[in-house]
């Protein structure tokens, strides 16, 4: 399957036309991970957004020396990782570990992402709106766990 078709199934890109999806595909880099591999580490400074296109990851909080982390959610196909650091440029808010064999992600560098959003403000507006909706969805999921 072409990357453009894969991206069509990711809600971060909802509303983008085919040629706009092609533009996004140009700044994606595929990476493969295996169970136990760390994709992002809590507290680290990094500049990447990841889109899971196959497999599952677990998101962990509180990973420190001499203390065990707890898994707060498992994310599967179509979900995004690293969006908070991408938006606020702060350190990683959680660690992310691959749990499936393989876990395939598409990685986007912040610099490429921001450049694309500025060059094509239609893409920029829609992707930023979808990013906000994704954060809202995750918050609603969290609220339902706590009810």
């Amino acid at each position: 399957m072409e990357l453009r078709q894969v991206l069509q199934g990711v809600d971060l890109f909802e509303g983008l036309k085919e040629d706009e999806l092609e533009e996004v595909a140009k700044i994606c880099y595929e990476k493969r991970y295996f169970p136990g591999d760390t994709i992002a580490k809590e507290g680290d400074n990094s500049d990447e957004l990841f889109i899971i296109t196959d497999g599952f990851v677990e998101v962990l909080l509180g990973e420190r020396p001499k203390s065990s982390a707890r898994v707060v959610v498992s994310l599967g196909s179509g979900q995004i990782i690293g969006e908070m650091a991408l938006l606020d440029q702060g350190p990683r808010s959680a660690s992310v570990r691959a749990t499936s064999d393989p876990t395939i992600v598409q990685m986007i560098q912040r610099q490429d992402f921001e450049k694309l959003c500025l060059q094509n403000t239609n893409i920029g507006y829609k992707v930023m709106r979808n990013l906000a909706a994704d954060l809202s969805f995750k918050l609603r999921h969290r609220n339902l766990i706590d009810r």
């Binding site: 677990e58 707060v72 498992s74 749990t99 609603r140 339902l144």
Partner: protein
């Protein structure tokens, strides 16, 4: 092609819950596999209104118990 973004919350054990995109609408009573374990869907809600082809769904599950 419709895509269902589903928030799975598990009651009755310490599973942290799962979010994933899938190509079918979850149904009450169906069995789902999340990781290594099987669960039974006991509640399905629309979490947010759909946008384009995307539907935003919440599902509550419990561990599946074989009869």
């Amino acid at each position: 092609m419709a895509v269902y973004k589903v928030s799975y919350v598990i009651i009755g054990n310490d599973h942290p819950g799962t979010i994933l995109n899938q190509n079918h609408m979850p149904q009450q009573g169906e069995q789902v596999q999340l990781g290594a374990d099987m669960f039974e869907v006991i509640e399905v809600l629309e979490l947010m209104p759909p946008r384009g082809e995307f539907h935003y769904i919440h599902v509550t599950c419990q561990p599946w118990q074989k009869d």
